[in-house]
Amino acid sequence: MKNLISERVADFIKNFPPFNILDSKSLHALSEEVLIVYKEKNSVIFSVDENQHSHFYLVHKGAVSLTNRSSSNIIDYCDEGDIFGLRPLFANENYKLEARAHEECILYGIPIDIFKPIAKQNDQVTIFLMESFASNTRNPYAKNQKGQLYDNEVEEKVTKEVVLPDLQLASYSKKLVSCSTRTTIKKAADIMSKKKIGSLLVTSKDLPVGIITDKDFRNKVISGEQPITASVKSIMTTPVITYPKNLTITQAQMAMMKSNISHLVITEDGTPNSPALGILSKHDVMVSLGDNPAVLVKAIKRTSRIKKIKQIRKSVMVLLTGYLEQNIPLGLIAKIISELNDTCIKQVIEISIAKMDTPPPVKFAWLALGSQGRSEQLLHTDQDNALVFEDVPEEDLPKTTTYFLKLSKHITKGLNIIGYEYCPADMMASNPKWCLSLQEWKNKLSYWISNPGPNEVLMSSIFFDYSLAFGERSLLDNMSDHIFKTVEKYPIFLVHLANGALQSPSPTGFFRQFVVEQDGQHKDSFDLKSRALRPLIDAARVLILSHSVKAISNTWERYEKLAELEPNNQELYLACSYATKALLKFRTRQGLANHDSGRFIKLDQLSKQEKMKLKRTFNAIKEIQELITLRFKVTSILG
């Protein structure tokens, strides 16, 4: 009796192991027999020593906690898509754990009588069950995915991860030309001329034993050391240095430097004991370096046309996509990409200065604010920037201001051309409010700190994440010192800033259920920026400011510094650092996939693992918000 509801059930369970490996016939047969069980929060689903039920459970909505009797510790949470209560049914024993609805739940009760024969017929299901019982991970997602038992995708990703934190894979020539050890030198030279190649692989019993190159002819034959009738064995370079494929360019470069050679042999298993797949030459490395950051930086610096920079930035995006695919640590990706973005900005500024009739009258600094200031900007977003110039005699102030405003207009226009949208709030150096002399800035900062209304707090929070994009660092340091001194005088400011940091509601009630945006075009999406990233960013800012640490504007580096400064909170801070990186990577991936800023995430497009990963970061957010509430004695939490 197939019906709508069984279809609904099948639709859900087919996404989760072990049901995801069932054929649709078994899946439907199973779905038609399911019980849909509703459990109120805190109600017991089964208790310790209770007789087995006739079915095990899959969480459809809500969360279930599993508790051990002896320790009364919650040993696991089951979340949407997790199964529990299966092992006792297979082992034919009473329940050893207590299962309780951690939240209001809808469970699917899956009858064991129907499931058992299906499981027996399907090897993969059996394997899944054996592994999950053996590893004692009821829920392979919990505990940092220690189990990783069923999902091949995960394992693949792990092995794919590059050992060296760098970079693209080197491409090598797969058209192998080889000769045997007994080939004469003359014959070998003929082959190389005919095939127009610079190196020849020497094999013995199909295994690579040596390489001869033009250099060997030069050094060992023409010098008269060996006659051309001798075998290649006498002049070849041996043993060959072998590597497996998936070698990165950096690895290749290092291998060549280390052994002072110019050719590597790629073999099937990476050792000289398996057949060769190809040869990687120094030349190949140079070619691969074409879209390498260093090369891009050079190209950017060489150009005097803003349009050209725009084109180069496209390659930056290609690079970024590649890095993410290779799962390179985000900290490193962000460094490289920010470095490239910085170079672009610097070049735009250089070009803009050249457009002015006269050089700048006094020293100045161009500040990157917000995400760019924090070096967390991987995708194109708005420009947030400001300009500060040296103090000048009062009578010179108007014309100096005019000069820098004009320069700023050139720069913001240039930045817009290369892909930075104008800031909708006009928080840009081309705005007279954001293009000030050092003294004017100091006055403004003092005002914000001593009169912290909501607007001032917002301004400060954007402004305090500044970093130097171009120009005179001492101007920036001067401003930082001023901020710290003023904050010391008005400690209440930190409370306001902390309060501001708590305005973004934490992303989850407890542990799960995303807060989904209620209305607007982003209905059913999760606002990653304001719900998850912003609380972390805001908290890091207020904490680092309270320690008067300057010149660290990047959020995860701030947390790393905080972990150093407060060893007792080390664990939390490191968790926050990790969470920030994880969320940012997430956002970048989403943005690249959807061609937008990645801010809004469609929940139904996430895989189970992605959801779990996201949710794990929420714990850190919740805890850091609690810490701030306590430390800064913020009383008015969440209006």
Binding site: L4, S6, R8, Y38, K39
Partner: protein
């Protein structure tokens, strides 16, 4: 009273079986009660002129719905109102297996038994069913009826900040309780959504100290 009572007709056996179920008193324990949550799709909103197109229902016992035990039937139509096709998507000559109205009623009575009927804006569904019974010379349904539209409002009373609306649609309930609106506007799909909403409403009301079936009916 007896004066106005209709002369008893000869009622079919299945009706007698149905009627006999009501002789035993119901359990006082709320968790032991059986609920049938139903929804009907109709050709329109007139009790006089419109007809039932399909009935979908699920049974709840001890907070559990068995997928095997759901009820879903489609009725043969003499009358067809093209204006409501876009709502329920049921065509006059669709591919569904359709049964006669009288057979549908017989099967429904067999399914529902003496369970407590739950429906969203129950008055309409019950009204349509009773008219259908009447057309075939049968008495009205004898079941206790709960309306999720009404009992939902009981969950809201404490909140003096929000003025409860006089009427909540099933869509609003689905949204409030984050129930997926998949299969909305099929009788069984709506019955399922109503069932989940019902369970959630009950769990919220259970905390009240005077909670009972009576309290829900009040």
């Amino acid at each position: 009273m007896g004066l106005f009572k209709r002369t008893p007709k000869i009622l079919p056996d299945y009706w007698k079986t149905y009627e006999n179920l009501f002789k035993d008193a119901k359990s006082k324990n709320f968790n032991e009660l059986t609920f049938v949550v139903l929804d009907t799709e109709t050709t329109g909103f007139s009790f006089e002129d419109d007809r039932i197109l399909s009935i979908g229902a699920v049974k709840i016992k001890n907070e559990t719905i068995s997928v095997q035990e759901v009820f879903e039937i489609y009725l043969k139509q003499e009358k067809f109102n093209k204006d409501t096709v876009h709502v329920h998507g049921l065509l006059k000559n669709g591919n569904r297996k359709c049964i006669s109205e009288i057979l549908a009623l017989e099967q429904f009575l067999d399914y529902v038994g003496n369970a407590i009927i739950v429906a969203h804006h129950a008055g309409f569904d019950i009204g349509m069913l009773n008219r259908a019974l009447e057309r075939h010379g049968l008495p009205k349904l004898k079941n206790t009826v709960l309306d999720t539209g009404i009992i939902y409002k009981k969950t809201l009373i404490k909140s003096y900040l929000l003025q409860p609306k006089s009427n909540y649609t099933l869509d609003e309930l689905a949204e409030k309780f984050s129930i997926s609106r998949k299969d909305r506007h099929t009788a069984l799909g709506d019955a399922y959504i109503t069932a989940i909403a019902f369970l959630k409403i009950i769990s919220r009301l259970k905390e009240k100290k005077n909670f009972s079936l009576k309290y829900l009916l009040r």
